[in-house]
Symmetry: C2
Subunit: 220 residues, 2 copies
DNA sequence: CTTAAATACAGAAAAATTTCTTTAATAAAA
DNA sequence: TTTTATTAAAGAAATTTTTCTGTATTTAAG
């Protein structure tokens, strides 16, 4: 699966999705290095930290357009900027979240998303006990309020953290009010039109990988 | 990346990791169908729901050893059992969670893991306000208690939901007390010995994919 | 009873992704 | 200064994963 890079240099280059998934991890690490006063980082260094092939890191980073220095690596400040630009982390992305339960609350208060440029500006629920409260400064409204707000604000991302039974309805609502991308955490196959970007995050997929490896290594 | 299937039939067949990641999603869907009184499901049906290639679903399901019926599909009860067996969901896996904050609490109270055979039996924290309380019936202990308990119970999985700064220490502790697999949610590259199964779940990887697609489609 | 449509499945092909190889550059060590 | 070691980068090769093709089967329709 591929996506495209739209650099300031006008051309559009296909970028593998696995690369897109690894890039924010690189960004995170080099930001930590930056805070520790490092100015350069090499691909082999990143590779050791993440147990990846060094040439894979090089190839991934090459999509940012940053040129590394032989025997030194990449200049961190330049790389941070290029990665943030490529990933869209330095643009503002406003999001709505529906389903202010345990997982929803965790996502709302999570400060890490700020660094990704995504800001959850409002949450919605149908539980009377939650409506009117706020979570880490983010107000929780009744789902009905949804319409007015999307029209006034420019919300591109809708996050679904309701029970699976409510998820399709919520998705339909979101689509109706012009949201462009849906980030769904409910374990259900949502039906959405072609033009809507749908990202399912099924946490149990990771668990399955763990259990499988456990079973596998138990035999040896 | 591959993993192996250890079926009751003694042989061991390599299973692609992408397949392992899709299997629990199939399981989830067919369990829903089962509740709706369906008795058979076909690969094209699953493929439509998940927007996958039908032959890919067929290939994935073939690893379970279940034989489908032409023009009808797979028998749901048989498939559920085979998937649960393959994924290890019908075996008991006990887990400890360290870092009973927002995300930790969400994972602890999440009932969905029960269906995967994983049970979080205790949580640990260093925050005095949390120690001594319980979350959905799961007690929160001081991190010090960790040792005694791992020795008495048979804990195979350690879940890390502490801030990144504490994660490496927690991981070292977990390894010291004999845990086999670490499921890490902190955005940091953990150093663990070869024999430890490490699964990082970096939620922002999914966000990166969304933002990238948003940028991409905005240009068209 | 015959035909048509839908499906599973195996194998081949294609596509995507990762890893390997080579080269050139350059910083650090001798 | 010369040598050595480390690295980036480009391209080739290998591997992995997905998609395509063809065949057989079987249910349902005509
Ligand atoms: N908690 C986890 O760790 C976890 C992990 C993986 C997946 N999930 C999934 O995420 C979703 C949320 O999980 P949770 O643990 O936070 O559950 P939760 O019950 O704590 O939260 C669900 C929230 O959605 C609200 N809600 C219900 N129907 C609604 C509707 N029609 N419109 C708006 N809001 C509605 C509820 O009032 C509640 O506040 C579930 O689908 C769950 O399967 C959760
Ligand atoms: N909340 C999210 O949606 C989200 C998303 C992605 C990643 N994460 C990551 O998950 C982790 C937890 O996030 P959170 O939002 O739940 O944060 P949180 O602050 O709510 O929870 C962290 C918990 O860890 C405890 N803790 C701190 N140091 C500890 C130690 N040494 N030993 C044991 N416990 C300790 C704290 O007391 C707190 O209860 C962070 O690393 C965060 O980056 C969170």
């Amino acid at each position: 699966m591929e996506t495209t890079l739209s650099s300031s240099a006008k051309q559009s280059v296909a970028v593998p999705e696995p690369t897109v998934r690894r890039l924010p991890t690189y960004l995170n690490i080099i930001k930590n290095l930056q805070q520790a006063e490092h100015t350069y980082v090499s691909a082999p260094t990143l590779a050791r930290i993440l147990r990846l092939d060094p040439t894979q890191v090089t190839k991934d980073l090459s999509y940012t357009g940053v040129i590394g220095k032989t025997r030194v690596g990449y200049q961190i400040s330049e790389l941070v900027e290029a990665l943030e630009d490529f990933l869209g982390f330095n643009r503002k992305h406003e999001a709505f979240l529906v389903g202010a339960g345990y997982l929803g609350s965790a996502l709302i208060q999570y400060q890490g998303f700020r660094e990704s440029g995504m800001r959850i500006v409002a949450a919605f629920d149908i539980d009377k006990n939650k409506i009117g409260t706020d979570i880490a400064g983010v107000p929780v409204f009744h789902l009905e309020k949804f319409r007015d707000l999307t029209e006034r604000l420019h919300i591109t991302i809708g996050i679904i953290t309701t029970p699976p039974s409510a998820a399709q309805n919520v998705a339909d609502l979101m689509i109706g009010w012009g949201i462009k991308a849906i980030w769904n955490f409910a374990p259900i196959g949502l039906k959405v039109p072609e033009h809507i970007i749908l990202q399912d995050t099924h946490i149990y997929a990771n668990l399955a990988v763990i259990l499988n490896k456990l079973d596998h290594t138990a035999l040896k």
